[in-house]
């Protein structure tokens, strides 16, 4: 088995080379409580910083999605005090001033791009903040969509911006107010509320099992 040497919080461990950082910590003997959620790259619980021995660059990653390398100095950052503002979504409108009121610090962005470099999902974070500044919420939503909220951008931001929270607000505004209404959905909800399907559903529920099996096995499947 090929192994590599890694340093967990500065202490050296030899671990199988094909493990992720997360599994390597467990292999080394850690029982994780913090810093581990979905284990598959969706929840952002496992934000981690590392530096390869002898190299200058500090890197950020998701521990569950990153393979160990020789000489990795690893520290997980299971919590970072990002700043979420609270609001009543029904009282908001998708207007530029919403961001000014809730997240005014985005206008203090100095354009250093550290957020983008830190993004574990490879998103153009600074760009989506720029869209938010302009009140272009649909674009901000689209650009930030794949964010898992690990907070690595927040850690690196000199202006104290909580980027994932900004993206989240933009997405909620987009989903609720900007995206066009789905008329077929509204209509179907109204039909159901008007009781249009009550009888039909009762009927299928009452059918003997062999009849329903027959129906199922011969149902027409949309191409």
């Amino acid at each position: 088995m090929e192994t590599v040497n890694i340093y967990l919080y500065g202490k050296k461990y030899s671990v199988p080379a094909d493990l992720t950082i997360l599994c390597a910590m467990e292999y080394a003997g850690y029982t994780l409580k913090r810093g581990c959620g979905c284990r598959h790259g969706f929840c952002g619980a496992c934000a981690t910083v590392y530096r390869i021995k002898g190299k200058n660059e500090l890197k950020t990653c998701l521990a569950c999605q990153t393979q160990v390398q020789e000489g990795m100095y690893i520290a997980s950052i299971p919590f970072f005090p990002a700043d979420k503002r609270t609001y009543e979504i029904n009282a908001l409108r998708p207007e530029q001033q919403v961001m000014m009121q809730l997240y005014p610090e985005i206008y203090a962005c100095i354009g250093c791009n550290a957020c983008t470099k830190a993004c574990t999902q490879g998103l153009n974070v600074m760009q989506y903040i720029a869209y938010a500044q302009r009140g272009d919420f649909a674009k901000c939503a689209e650009e930030s969509f794949d964010c898992v909220g690990c907070g690595c951008c927040v850690m690196r931001c000199p202006a104290g911006i909580s980027h994932p929270m900004v993206g989240l607000l933009a997405r909620r505004l987009t989903g609720k107010y900007i995206a066009p209404e789905s008329k077929h959905l509204t209509e179907r909800v109204a039909e159901i509320n008007a009781g249009q399907y009550d009888e039909l559903i009762e009927k299928i529920m009452q059918k003997p099992i062999d009849e329903i099996q027959e129906l199922y096995n011969n149902r027409e499947i949309e191409k």
Binding site: C23, G37, C38, I89, L185, R188, V189, Q213, R219
Partner: protein
């Protein structure tokens, strides 16, 4: 990244691709499916199951790993806990911070109740966050709730509880509307029509999605709403046992602070169990797509308190888990990859089945291909079959993968595999608990008063197999319903004196059955320390 041998097989897949394009492999007949399942589905392996020795489901089949937990005593049996010292009080106590718990919290709060949520990890560290493919609802003109009912009922082998399934399909469009109004960004066209696709076993295209971050988009929106409402969320705190009052009704729970090991007493007028699934029990040694905290705690707590289980012996193995590379072994490859046109292909480049059979059938067929038929592709941790992803770009045009399934693309690119140009290797992974606690249509558990359950912890909504997209739906429909019902009930309840008598009764039954073995349950977290995976 692929080995020599894998690359040789990829060339065979490429060689047959042109001929396969535009064709549709035949679907299996009902008899063919039955035979296949009986021979190859893990649920049919007798040696992987035990018999439940005590309690309401005594004498029934249960996966060994779950059986072991049901046959183990409570963590609290030998603890001295002062039940007169109440650490927190609420009208509605919600256990579990996934999609079902969050929906319940929002609705209970909206109904005026004082709500409290406790969750093992962080709110949103949950299976809900990981759902990729989408959520079903019959809202297209060519579809209806009745058609949805038929698909789900048949897909679940005609075993769903009709009254639960009825609620699922009839409230589905409203659940989508509710999410949309909260700001969930569904995939829509420029006119506002939902972009819907097929899932395995659907007869109409009714899968709504938010790219392949459907669960994440729903979960982060719900979480945001819970926080905006100021609902107290106690993270890194697990429920380890339910509490009852002198009438035998649920009246709270004993909590464990996961970091300080301190026990806390939470009192409530109604309790909602929303603890999700059991993937981390690794039934039959399978890898799992589930989050770290999916250890069947809710089943254990509920069962010990007297709630019967339903279909606890049926497990969903998702046909397409990652088989290679090993770093992401067992992670989910969403069914949407097949909805978008990728075929399942064996090592010889043959499409061995229709890609959109129901999950149990597809999983069994892949296992057959890799075992009896010897047409799997060897990997370091086992074997797998190809999912021919480049077909998606051919069918939908260049850029389809990046636009519709960015999470999948990213996950594989991390390891140098570009699914736009080369196929990927998959094998079934332990995915979903079809069974669980038995509830009525209003969400109350059978036999314990003031106790509700919602989400994956529940059994009976889907029967013995679940269709893709019906679980995200059930957590919203039944989560919302449970929240509302719990808030209503709480208005009529005055809580009496708390007790843990049921864990002692359970201990006596265990010892009578000669089972008071070692270990503690619920499990809370899997034991991975000093293991490679």
């Amino acid at each position: 990244m692929y080995t020599e041998q894998m690359n040789a097989s990829v060339r065979k897949v490429e060689a047959t691709r042109d001929a396969r394009m535009g064709t549709e492999p035949e679907r299996m007949s009902a008899e063919q499916k039955e035979q296949l399942l009986a021979a190859f589905h893990p649920d049919y392996r007798e040696d992987a199951f035990d018999t439940i020795a005590i309690g309401p489901n005594k004498g029934q089949k249960v996966p060994k790993e779950l059986g072991r937990l049901l046959h183990t005593n409570s963590r609290l049996l030998n603890e001295q806990i002062d039940l007169d010292r109440i650490d927190c009080d609420a009208d509605v106590l919600i256990i579990g911070g996934g999609g079902a718990g969050a929906s319940a919290a929002i609705q209970a709060h909206a109904a005026g109740a004082q709500v409290m949520m406790v969750t093992k990890l962080r709110i949103g560290d949950a299976n809900t966050m990981m759902a990729e493919g989408g959520i079903q609802a019959a809202d297209q003109p060519n579809d209806s709730p009745v058609q949805h009912y038929l698909d789900a009922f048949g897909g679940g082998h005609f075993a769903a509880r009709p009254e639960l399934l009825r609620r699922l399909v009839m409230e589905a469009p409203d659940a989508i509307r509710w999410l949309n109004d909260l700001g969930v960004m569904f995939d829509k066209d420029a006119q506002g029509n939902m972009v819907t696709t097929h899932g395995g076993g659907t007869s109409r295209k009714r899968m709504h999605a938010c790219k392949d971050y459907s669960g994440a988009e729903i979960m982060r929106t719900l979480r945001d709403e819970v926080l905006n409402r100021g609902i107290p969320v106690i993270e890194f705190t697990s429920a380890v046992e339910l509490l009852k009052d002198e009438n035998g009704n649920a009246a709270g729970a004993v909590l464990l602070n996961m970091e300080t090991d301190e026990y806390l007493v939470a009192r409530a007028k109604t309790v909602i169990l929303a603890t999700g699934g059991a993937g981390r029990l690794h039934y039959q040694g399978f890898p799992t797509s589930n989050h770290y905290g999916a250890t069947a705690d809710g089943l254990v707590l509920g069962y010990r308190a007297g709630v019967p289980l339903l279909y606890q012996d049926t497990i969903q193995y998702h046909p397409t888990g990652v088989a290679f590379p090993s770093q992401i072994y067992g992670a989910l490859v969403t069914e949407k990859v097949r909805s978008l046109g990728a075929m399942l292909v064996n090592c010889e480049g043959e499409a061995f089945m229709h890609p959109l059979e129901t999950r149990d059938v597809a999983a069994a067929a892949i296992i057959r291909e890799c075992s009896e038929r010897g047409k799997g592709v060897d990997t370091p941790l086992g074997s797998g079959v190809w999912l021919d992803t480049p077909m998606i770009e051919r069918i939908g045009g260049a850029g389809t993968i990046e636009r519709r399934i960015p999470a999948m693309l990213r996950m594989y690119l991390n390891y140098g595999i570009d699914m736009r140009t080369t196929p990927i290797l998959v094998y079934p992974t332990l995915h979903y608990q079809n069974g669980g606690l038995e509830i009525d249509a209003a969400g109350f558990t059978k036999s314990v008063g003031n106790l509700l359950a919602a989400g994956e912890v529940v059994g009976g909504i889907h029967g013995r197999n679940r269709l893709m997209g019906n679980s995200l739906l059930d957590i919203i429909v039944f989560g919302r319903g449970a929240g509302k019902a719990a808030a209503e009930r709480a208005k009529e309840v005055t809580v009496g004196k708390l007790n843990l008598d049921h864990i002692h009764t359970y201990a006596e039954q265990l010892s009578e059955a000669g089972l008071a073995g070692d270990g503690l349950s619920p499990l809370l977290l899997p034991n991975y320390a000093r293991k490679a995976r």
